[in-house]
């Protein structure tokens, strides 16, 4: 809303000037360059292979809806999306539960070793999952979690804990302490305080963490790659690579498959743009 208002205001403001026009033109060119690969991918999914060769960047002469249709009516596409959704939802739910509980403890209680334990968990901020991926593979194997959804979900949650505990703890500490005092005075214990006061007041930070962990899980590739073997459990990132491996010579089908698999992310982004941008950047800034 405010941004729209800004745009309207600005259109009247400022004596246009050459600089403004040049700036605008530069941005239009850049935006075109950024969008071009995505649009080309979507459009080329409508061509047949011979047209792709002769006319890679124009509109299709003949719209081959069948490329998209065959994928949409197939089992594979829905299966990989379903797997991704399942893994992402469990990752988000578990991340929120586990990290808000830990964050609550660190925010309100002083006990022997609390600082040590908090720093311990925050070690996770220092290195990416890739550094530990080999022993992690061994660990997942030894726990019997190879080729299972949990083998992907649990490490994803574990590796996001450092960041999410930190973010949520900082937010919990900013809730007025009078609330806790008053609740205690009325005989409300910590557990009920957590459920009835802390959580309902922490919507923004919880949704930030949810966005970060959902996007991370939805787009994840390395972890499912080492954990999952059965194609029936592949999330869309692995499914896309498998599809490309199988139809390597039919770029038009691969492009249609890419388009359809990135479509949910694009739709979500367009619908909840503000939350997603705020979540992904605020998460980075606050931690």
């Amino acid at each position: 809303m405010t941004e729209a208002a800004d745009a309207i205001r600005s259109s009247g403001r400022r004596p246009g000037g050459l600089a403004a026009i040049v700036t605008f033109a530069a941005l239009v060119v850049l935006a075109g360059a950024v969008l071009f690969p995505v649009l080309a991918t979507a459009l080329n999914g409508f061509k047949d292979l011979s047209e792709l060769r002769t006319n890679p960047f124009g509109l299709p002469h003949v719209w081959m809806w069948s490329n998209y249709w065959s994928i949409l009516t197939g089992y594979r596409y829905w299966q990989v999306l379903g797997n991704s959704l399942l893994i992402a939802l469990f990752t988000v739910a578990l991340t929120l539960i586990v990290s808000s509980m830990a964050a609550f403890t660190f925010a309100h209680l002083r006990f022997f070793g609390d600082k040590f334990l908090l720093s311990y968990i925050q070690l996770g901020l220092l290195f990416p999952v890739a550094t530990a991926i080999v022993p992690l593979f061994i660990k997942i194997r030894d726990l019997g979690l190879l080729d299972s959804y949990w083998g992907v979900i649990l490490p994803q949650v574990a590796f996001s804990l450092a960041m999410s505990v930190l973010l949520i703890r900082n937010a919990f500490k900013q809730l007025p302490s009078e609330l806790l005092d008053a609740a205690m005075m009325d005989g409300c214990g910590y557990f009920r305080y957590f459920i009835y006061v802390t959580l309902p007041l922490s919507g923004p930070i919880l949704s930030t963490v949810a966005v970060i962990s959902f996007v991370g899980s939805w787009n994840g590739y390395l972890l499912p790659l080492i954990v999952l073997n059965s194609e029936s459990r592949y999330p869309w990132t692995l499914g896309l690579m498998a599809y490309q491996g199988q139809y390597m010579t039919s770029w038009q089908l691969v492009l249609a498959f890419i388009t359809l698999t990135i479509l949910p992310a694009i739709i979500m982004f367009l619908m909840a743009q503000r939350y997603i941008v705020a979540g992904l950047t605020a998460g980075a800034v606050k931690a």
Partner: protein
């Protein structure tokens, strides 16, 4: 914050530091119920693996049974004697330098342009940020097509000039530039968004005052905007270095590390040369090197560069 002030106001002497409240049965119950899930997950899937990487790195081990063939530092010797690994290390370095010299300045320039109350600013922001929400794998595959000598953009350009088809991704001198282009395309919008957030925190009165004192747009940018944006720039440098060090997802669909293993990063080297061949000791050593680089950088950077932020 609030808890800390409360604790300072209560000079109760107990064995523990700054007790916000006396630990009661109820609060111990919270500790016992709320903390273990996080500690357990973190220990099993983050802490132990990284510690074990340090241990496995000393062994010649294929992952079956227990690691028994202790070979000391030989894995590290093999690693640094391996031209593909040193090439990967250099490639990670190239991504970092490229990000710092090209990506971040571009992001900053675009952020400044958009922040200047422009028509359609919302749209530009959205478009530039869009690639960031797409998965690296999809980005890599999209650009694999773009760079294809027969079908993609490169193919179209060579055809237009009547030149023979050119396969950038098969050119061992230039293939890695394809990786850089995809990194730029995918991530500059994220850094731009950080800078926009930073720019919005700058008091416009400062810039107006400078304008009235006759400061040119460049002077205003150089002496006011840039210093005030400092914390955000330092933050985005941090993310861009850590991100560059762990780059993997883009490499696989784009080049698969080829041609002639010239486009690997440390993580793709770890994957292709260690994990897929079940050389667990060897690839653990790669993980350890990566870990040491990340931690040294993160600690050093936070101590030295970001200490005031």
């Amino acid at each position: 914050m609030a808890a800390a002030t409360y604790a300072e106001a209560q000079p109760t002497a107990t064995a523990y530091s700054e007790p916000a409240r006396r630990m009661t049965l109820n609060s111990w119950a919270v500790v016992v119920v709320f903390l273990p899930p996080a500690l357990l997950l973190f220990t099993v899937f983050v802490f132990l693996p990284i510690a074990e990487a340090g241990w496995y790195g000393f062994f010649n081990w294929n992952g079956y049974g227990r690691p028994e063939k202790f070979i000391g530092l030989k894995n590290y010797g093999y690693l640094f004697g391996n031209p593909t690994f040193t090439r990967s290390l250099i490639n990670n370095g190239i991504i970092i330098v490229f990000s710092l010299l090209v990506q971040l300045p571009l992001a900053l320039a675009v952020a400044v342009m958009i922040a200047g109350r422009l028509v359609g600013a919302v749209w530009f922001r959205m478009i530039f940020f869009l690639p960031y929400v797409l998965a690296d794998v999809a980005a890599g595959l999209i650009w694999h097509f773009m760079f294809d000598g027969d079908y993609g953009l490169v193919g179209a350009v060579t055809t237009a000039f009547g030149a023979p088809p050119y396969f950038l991704l098969a050119d061992k001198t230039w293939a890695f530039s394809a990786v850089l282009i995809v990194v730029l395309w995918k991530y500059f919008g994220f850094h731009m968004m950080l800078y926009i957030a930073g720019l919005q925190g700058i008091d416009p009165a400062l810039l107006e005052a400078a304008e009235m004192d006759g400061a040119s747009p460049f002077q205003r940018f150089w002496h006011i905007t840039l210093p005030l944006l400092g914390p955000m720039i330092r933050l985005s440098v941090f993310f861009s270095v850590i991100g560059a060090l762990q780059l993997f997802d883009i490499i696989v669909p784009l080049t698969g590390g080829g041609p002639f293993e010239t486009t690997n990063t440390m993580v793709s080297f770890l994957y292709f040369f260690g994990l897929t061949r079940m050389r667990i000791g060897f690839s653990s050593a790669v993980g350890v090197v990566l870990f040491i680089i990340c931690v040294t950088f993160a600690f050093g950077y936070q101590r030295i560069v970001m200490r005031d932020d």
